[in-house]
Symmetry: C2
Amino acid sequence: MAESMEWLLSDAKAVDGWIKNWLYQKSDEAILAPRLLAAMEYASLNGGKRIRSGLVCASARMAHKYSHKNTAGAAIGVAVAVEFLHAYSLVHDDLPTMDDADLRRGIASTHKKFDEATAILAGDALQTASFEVLCQPQLELLAEQKIELIGCLSMAAGVSGMAGGQMLDLEAETKSYDINEVTQMQALKTGALITASAVMGGIVGGGDKSLIRALSNYAKNLGIAFQITDDLLDYQGSETQLGKPVGQDNIRGKASYGGHYGLDGAAKKAQEFAEKACDSLQDYQEHAIELHSLAKFTTNRTH
Amino acid sequence: MAESMEWLLSDAKAVDGWIKNWLYQKSDEAILAPRLLAAMEYASLNGGKRIRSGLVCASARMAHKYSHKNTAGAAIGVAVAVEFLHAYSLVHDDLPTMDDADLRRGIASTHKKFDEATAILAGDALQTASFEVLCQPQLELLAEQKIELIGCLSMAAGVSGMAGGQMLDLEAETKSYDINEVTQMQALKTGALITASAVMGGIVGGGDKSLIRALSNYAKNLGIAFQITDDLLDYQGSETQLGKPVGQDNIRGKASYGGHYGLDGAAKKAQEFAEKACDSLQDYQEHAIELHSLAKFTTNRTH
């Protein structure tokens, strides 16, 4: 499998390069606020798996029927926007008044490395950056496509998407959610941005409505598979592997997939959703190979 | 003067109506997160002066050479985006780890009314909303104009604008800024969004490059006049009038305009900048009447 995921690493490398370049350009403009820029860099270049980037790029290639060795240049820029948005959400989620996480991907979370105020601002500025990136003239897309992308990303990130999901997660501290409520909450908190990533890739690749719908169905199912796997890793994983404290969800009394279906049952559920994801793309045959491999990667990962 | 500012009240009313309508529509989509929506409403409909809205709308009318009784419908939507962005910045600035302000416009700040986590999320979702609003199909503008607007707003809000300015303001707690450094910090923290408001109005109104440049110069000077006036009100005002604690800047040892130029000297400086602002618009004669009155209003206000 390692072989087949080279494209994910290659996209991740391109995204990291784009981010470094953006930060370098900004260091001239934002000469007065080097600390803020350093916190943004820390939060956005911390060795994440870049699954969302991969989704954007692989979806763009599927839509465009590109050879799998080529990536639309614009797809990388769009992937950067999604990663900035994702990075902002992690920085804010980790804050003491939110999930209060000291670790993220094995290293100090942004507010621990810097301080709370800087982390709040870095998250804020990363969110802004994701929209700024999407209107840059060097992103070779039509203005109509850019507007569609920004609309898609903002809907996924806002009150009826990711931010709404995080609100529900906070409220879980005082309510006790059953497994359906947890699934609904996760569909907003993480599912919305995962779905948006695939849809945005489809838009970049100039896909038609039925392709966008197929990508959306793929990503919705992938998002659930992703979440069940995350939950299982949290349930059984070690802090060293995960790079963050484990068992947090159980402590809070939220239902978990592992707790509800049992470990084997939950792992099977994750597989089922990953397969359902792949079934959504059956019309696209060999052009969907990367997205198939991403579904496998998502459920087989160990961190 | 009350007479001549009716347009500002009228624009503010239209903006409030637009925001209410948006929130109402969102209450269906975001049915799971009513608390987050309530916090967003609390933060965005709290009786602000709506100077930034006024700037957007009056600049659009000047660019469009509209009769002063008519407002381009799209200008109101764009003004809403700017007000959402401004509201987000106030919610986050008031947080305990930032400026730690319990009051805003005479009532409890958002984190006091709700809680810190909800306030952080409400600010986050308000920022997202400002970009979402700018790509709505019902906003009757060309895709190219929308992209220009989003580019302008994101540049003004991000690390090389407002967020960078807030970072400098935080750092002022440990450094002691002289009056030039305070001016530079304020140019980012509040000036960038004020300038963007006028420029965005110009874009909505279809203004040419020289008009946009004139609006930008106007707003840069207006922003300084605004800031000196704010500073003077903070220096000499009462908490009841201002609706927020006074003298905060002096406590922190940042240089103030009142402290540096004396009260009369600073008031004169504010007048000078307001006049300089108006001079930037001399080519636009009677079409600039509203923006002239806004400059007077800004320096003569008591809260």
